[in-house]
């Protein structure tokens, strides 16, 4: 059966398509999160697989631009333009607006309108509360482009407070050991710091050097994380009974030898699967994720009410399967435009 197109309406796949450098909106000459240098890009958030240096022009939230400048240096793009959440920008006959995604500080969904239809490119997102950024806003649309990092029903992230309580319980039971928590430098680190403060932990938290810059930047952008100290120079005795945050690559490697009999923890959505945790030598897996879990993914598809869903980043096939079961015309983004007519 051929898809019927109402008169005067252009099909979204005719103006939004997958190119080798990323998702491309032709009438606006605009790429979304391109992985290679392009003339004009809208960047949903500052993680390196979405935000690259070397574009001609970058549109993003002020926070994302600041994060990119901190990671890549001030000259990371030819030109930059900050867009406030909710502000609309016209690019030819395309209207672009950013809506909060709830993923990390500065994260946004790109809302694109053209030819009478609206496409929302969510970038990465989650639905639960995050003390470091505004909550995800469901935007009703014709096509919803969703991530699927945790697109399997075995991923059901528990409550953050529950996981932080487990961390503090281990801390209480092991007063002479260091607890070293593996965290991503951008987002997870600062969110965990805030969650610790909310749980009443007010002692200084020690940070690996690779986490210090972005944590300072978060402070400048108004996200207070409480007292932090460098872990790298601290004496072993001072780190007994301390909580140390470090990048995942450092927690079980040579860097960790400076710590006092460390308990290796890791804060990540992957920690819900035991074998994953054990492979990384993790003793205390904390399921704290900046991505939507399975239930959040399905709830989001219901909330945005899009008749069509394009799935990218992760386990596309399972989410496509589940969305089709909900009566949604879902497909993997990589395949959009490559299918035979009527498939």
């Amino acid at each position: 059966m051929t898809q019927s197109v109402p008169a005067g309406r252009v099909r979204p796949e005719d103006w939004l398509m997958v190119r080798p450098e990323g998702l491309y909106c032709a009438p606006a000459d605009l790429h979304v999160d391109p992985t290679r240098p392009v003339a004009r890009a809208v960047v949903t958030h500052g993680h390196a697989d979405h935000a690259r240096a070397g574009h001609g022009q970058v549109l993003a939230t002020a926070e994302t631009l600041a994060i990119m400048a901190s990671r890549y240096g001030a000259g990371f793009a030819g030109r930059t333009q900050a867009l406030a959440l909710g502000e609309t920008l016209s690019l030819g006959d395309v209207r672009l607006r950013l809506a909060p995604a709830g993923h990390i500080l500065g994260s946004a969904q790109a809302v694109l309108e053209h030819g009478g239809s609206r496409v929302v490119v969510s970038g990465d997102y989650k639905r639960r509360r995050d003390p470091t950024c505004p909550a995800f806003e469901p935007v009703p649309c014709d096509v919803f482009v969703t991530e699927a990092t945790f697109g399997l029903p075995v991923f059901r992230h528990p409550d953050d407070a529950h996981e932080v309580a487990r961390l503090l319980e281990q801390h209480r039971r092991n007063p002479d050991r260091t607890i070293v928590v593996g965290v991503y430098a951008l987002g997870k680190c600062q969110r965990l710091l805030r969650l610790l403060r909310e749980a009443g932990y007010d002692r200084p938290v020690h940070l690996h050097g690779a986490l210090e810059g972005l944590t300072r930047l978060y402070g400048e952008l108004g996200v207070e994380v409480g007292p932090v100290e460098p872990a790298t120079m601290a004496a072993r005795e001072r780190l007994a009974g301390a909580i140390v945050l470090a990048p995942p690559s450092a927690i079980a490697d040579r860097w960790a030898r400076r710590l006092a009999d460390p308990i290796v923890a890791m804060a990540s959505g992957w920690m819900g699967v035991r074998q994953r945790a054990r492979q990384r030598g993790v003793e205390l897996p904390l399921v704290i994720s900046d991505h939507a879990d399975w239930d959040e993914l399905l709830a989001t598809l219901r909330d945005v009410g899009a008749p069509r869903v394009w799935v990218t980043h992760g386990r596309e096939e399972a989410l496509v399967h589940a969305a089709r079961g909900m009566g949604i015309d879902a497909r993997a983004l990589a395949l959009v435009g490559f299918e035979e007519e009527g498939s």
Partner: protein, 526 residues
């Protein structure tokens, strides 16, 4: 059940023995009876439940979850119990069930024990609805009968002993007279009750263990004060028979009698004996690998019973009839053992002979000549010593024959666990074939000092040629002198050989890899 689940979960992620002990001790201290007793029973294999088969779990989950999504999830997770625990949907429709408190471990055990096989699926499904993901995982591990959290019976008993001022040997002493959920045991160790009376049952007496003989120690020892006997290469066991009950215990007090019905059938006496479990054919002791085929079996076929007959070579007597002999000196016990043996003539047993000698050099020569496969070395026992539990100093010595050695080439290194998780501390090494190819022959993770570990770790990092997850392949450039106690044929290894107790004897920084040994050198040691 949720507390027990959290304990299992934490144990599964805690590599160190001390860490596991602390978790267990806290659990036993914080939980009331009978919950803690059932936890102890679950960890020591003391619960006999009508076990649920994986097929039953699959059927339960198929009723609630899209089979396509389940298949993809199972492929990703790789473990049926864990996949089911994670994917099990929260029962929105059955609100009263979700709001009911989750079952206790004691309730689970009681209801499962009382249930018929047909009732088990509905019971399990009901509990899955009430538990959280970790609780569901623990429940499924419990009902499918595989805990696999790295807790030995000995660690669990040590944790119980740690609740009070009781040594673990004392717990082992009473253990076999007790049944789950062990209320009298907890009462006793915490000072709230009397010592349980274990006399009624054929129980385990903690065994007397030896120390390795260190270099130069012989000089300070008088030959006349010591008896010597061969150290047989089998499994040290204790026979406990009361006439009514007949048991065969391993060194740590685990009942291994189930795998040796041929032996147990012959224990028609009242005594407690110490000896070496062996496979003996026509008076000749078979290699250890033959005994291995008889171990860890629930049932033994008649064919194996005939082809691999079990035998005990006796070392000592602890109890004769009603009389506890452990307070007697070794010489007196030996006399009692010989008398008992000649009176009884037990089938499938013989005496481990004492070796006559007058000087240490004489014994040293005898030891050097002992190359029979079934002899691991010598035991020296002080003639005046009573039978003491544990590993008391200054009484018994093991004097193993010198290990065999080969010079191997380091091939792969893997990260260790716990304190060693940042070090490449597990080494796979190989030997050259005639064709000039390197084939792995074994794996070793000890035998070096902490300083040497640092050097090895650095060498591995600087000579890596390939990575496979936690494993690094290194260029063939470092020679390790590997010591081992024996070598056997093996179909599991590419080289066709397997070493016993391989360890790093020396790091040969000086030796070029090309000059390491060739495979035929190891084959000649078979």
């Amino acid at each position: 059940m949720n507390r027990f689940a959290r304990l299992l979960d934490a144990l599964a992620f805690t590599p160190s023995r001390n860490g596991k002990l602390r978790l267990l001790r806290d659990h036993f201290a914080e939980l009331p009876d009978p919950e803690r007793g059932w936890a102890l029973a679950a960890l020591t294999g003391g619960i006999d439940l009508p076990s649920a088969k994986p097929a039953m779990i699959r059927a339960l989950v198929a009723e609630r979850v899209d089979p396509v999504l389940f298949t993809w999830s199972y492929d990703f997770v790789g473990d049926l119990a864990e996949t089911t625990a994670l994917i099990w949907p929260a029962p929105d429709a059955v609100a009263e069930r979700r709001n009911a408190p989750p079952p206790t471990l004691a309730e689970v055990v009681a209801e499962l024990t009382a249930a018929s096989r047909a009732e088990v699926p509905a019971l399990v499904a009901g509990w899955l609805d009430q538990l959280d993901a970790t609780g569901r995982w623990a429940l499924l591990k419990l009902v499918t009968g595989g805990m696999r959290v790295g807790v030995s019976e000995r660690i669990a008993k040590t944790a119980v002993a740690g609740l009070g001022e009781v040594p673990v040997e004392a717990v082992e002493e009473v253990w076999h007279g007790l049944r789950p959920p062990y209320e009298p045991l907890f009462a006793w160790v915490t000072g709230a009750g009397d010592r349980p009376d274990p006399e009624a049952a054929a129980r385990f007496r903690p065994m007397m263990l030896s120390h390795p003989l260190e270099e130069g120690e012989l000089d300070a020892m008088a030959p006349a004060e010591y008896a010597a006997e061969w150290k047989w290469d089998g499994i040290r066991v204790q026979v406990a028979a009361t006439g009514a009950e007949r048991r065969l215990f391993s060194r740590t007090g685990e009942d291994v009698g189930g795998a040796f019905p041929d032996l147990v059938a012959t224990l028609d006496f009242r005594a407690v004996l110490d000896g070496e479990l062996l496979v003996v054919r026509d008076g000749t002791v078979a290699p250890f690998s033959d005994l291995q085929q008889r171990l860890n079996r629930k049932t033994v076929g008649t064919k194996l019973l005939t082809s691999h007959p079990a035998w005990i070579r006796l070392y000592d007597i602890l109890v004769d009839g009603e009389e506890d002999l452990r307070g007697l000196a070794f010489d007196a016990r030996r006399e009692r053992l010989e008398t008992w043996f000649s009176d009884r003539r037990p089938a499938r047993m013989d005496l481990s002979p004492l070796i006559g000698f007058t000087t240490w050099p004489e014994l040293t020569e005898l030891r050097a000549g002992a190359r029979a496969a079934a002899i691991e070395g010598l035991m020296l026992k002080r003639r005046a010593s009573p039978y003491l539990s544990g590993r008391p100093k200054g009484h018994w010595y093991k004097w193993k024959r010198d290990p065999l050695t080969v010079d191997c080439v380091l091939m792969y290194a893997q990260r260790g666990h716990g304190k060693r998780s940042s070090f490449y501390s597990d080494y796979t090494f190989g030997l050259w074939t005639e064709a000039g190819e390197l084939v792995p022959v074994g794996k070793a993770y000890f035998g070096f000092t902490d300083d040497e570990l640092q050097q090895l770790d650095r060498w591995v990092r600087n000579h890596t040629t390939n990575r496979f997850g936690p494993v690094r392949e290194v260029e063939p450039g470092l020679v390790l002198e590997i010591a081992f106690d024996g070598v056997q044929r093996s179909t599991r290894h590419k080289s066709g050989l397997a070493m016993r107790f391989p360890r790093v004897a020396r790091i040969r920084w000086d030796k070029p890899a090309g000059e390491a040994d060739r495979l035929p050198v190891l084959e000649a040691m078979l």
